[in-house]
């Protein structure tokens, strides 16, 4: 389980770093400035993630979208980690009390992602 969780965390970190760096470099190439100046309007994490993905799919995105996607990826890494552990405890270890424990964490996190 350590290997699974460890690599999920590593993947999330590496991917998000790559996205944020790519977005910053793109932004710098376009504007000549490293400081990206924009705000994230009041939203919850899910809305934020969906917006970024929609922009990518529709093809109309800029460096800020890439940066946002990087930020989202990093924020969601612990969430994915908890999700993976619920599945792992259920399917691999059949440790039902830990399915419940991690399930509670997952539920509370999910609720907070939808919080407005």
């Amino acid at each position: 389980m350590e290997t699974l969780i460890g690599y999920i965390l590593l993947a999330g970190v590496v991917l998000s770093m790559a996205l944020i760096t790519a977005g910053l470099v793109w932004h710098w190439l376009v504007t000549g400035r490293l400081q990206a100046e924009y705000v994230i309007r009041g939203t919850n994490l899910l809305g934020f993630a969906v917006l970024a993905v929609r922009q990518i799919i529709s093809g109309s995105f800029d460096s800020r979208t890439v940066i946002n996607l990087g930020i989202v990826t990093l924020l969601l890494t612990p969430f994915v980690r908890v999700l993976a552990s619920v599945v792992y405890f259920a399917l691999a270890e059949h440790d039902w009390k830990y399915v419940v424990f991690t399930g509670v964490v997952l539920s509370v996190l999910t609720y907070s992602l939808f919080l407005r």
Binding site: I5, L34, Y38, V39, I40, I71
Partner: protein, 286 residues
């Protein structure tokens, strides 16, 4: 967009921000905390207002946590079951804290938190010369929860076995630690390391690395509140995240080589600094 806090953040500051973030990530990964102790004072010094600084710090905690834990978990030092069990309570505490933060008085809380930290520091400081001894007995609840483990300690070249005890203390204390983190937006790790170390008698390395794992989830619970309030500033968050992850990964390389004693001593220094910082901030009203 409030341009006030951009006045002081120019291109020079981008690199300063990144450099400070590396330091924050390093300190966080080595102490089991989130790095806010370094980040928040520097951000406010650069002209960022305290609410934005806290929001950025909370997001950086997730980065530190994921970066540090990605290494510690793979090294099998973090105790996943203890971490995942206690996470339940920290996260409930964090959500509770974040939601009542609007109606609570900040300054007395910050001062109180500072006092608690300094008292804890004193307790741990008195004990600092004691070598780690794993507890010989374990209460029934902790045993049922499977709170035992072992890790390979590079500093002594041995596999160290340990048991976690007194889960019944860990539970309410973790809720309290989460509550404070959600209320004040800082202090995710300090109390958690103390609970794991003093309360549940885990080896310092395990306490630190398990705390690193827990704080990510705790911070994530609180993030939504700040995101909804529009307080998260990507222009500042982006370089901070990169710096923090870099620093955290460097910190993990060092911690695995240190002795339990050294890890504890580093934690003591950071704990003292954090306690003083909280007292000063509470008294000054910043």
């Amino acid at each position: 967009m409030d341009r006030k806090h951009y006045g002081a953040v120019s291109v020079i500051s981008f690199w300063l921000l990144a450099a400070v973030s590396v330091a924050a990530g390093f300190v966080g990964a080595m102490s089991g905390m989130g790095g806010g102790i370094v980040l928040i004072p520097v951000l406010t010094f650069l002209g960022v207002d305290i609410k934005h600084a806290i929001a950025i710090s909370i997001v950086s905690v997730i980065a530190t946590s994921s970066g540090a834990a990605s290494a510690y978990v793979r090294e099998h030092i973090t105790n996943l079951k203890i971490g995942m069990f206690l996470e339940m309570f920290t996260i409930l505490g964090a959500l509770t804290g974040a939601s009542i933060t609007l109606v609570s008085a900040q300054r007395p809380l910050v001062i109180l938190f500072g006092i608690v930290l300094l008292a804890s520091w004193a307790t741990l400081f008195v004990r600092r010369q004691e070598d780690y001894q794993p507890p010989t007995e374990q209460d029934g609840v902790s045993r049922w929860l499977e709170f035992h483990g072992s890790y390979y300690d590079q500093a002594v070249g041995q596999e160290i076995e340990y048991k976690g005890v007194r889960a019944y203390i860990g539970v309410p204390c973790m809720f309290g630690a989460g509550l404070i983190a959600g209320l004040l937006g800082i202090g995710a790790g300090a109390l958690k390391v103390l609970v794991l170390d003093l309360g549940m008698r885990l080896p310092p390395k395990v306490s630190t690395t398990t705390s690193n794992l827990i704080i990510g989830v705790t911070a994530l619970a609180g993030t939504s509140v700040y995101l909804a309030a529009g307080l998260i500033d990507p222009g500042l968050v982006a370089p901070v995240m990169i710096g923090v992850v870099t620093g955290a990964l460097i910190g993990t390389r060092l911690l695995v080589r240190l002795s339990n004693q050294a890890v504890r001593e580093f934690f003591l220094i950071v704990l003292l600094a954090l306690g003083v910082e909280m007292l000063v901030r509470g008294i000054r009203g910043g």
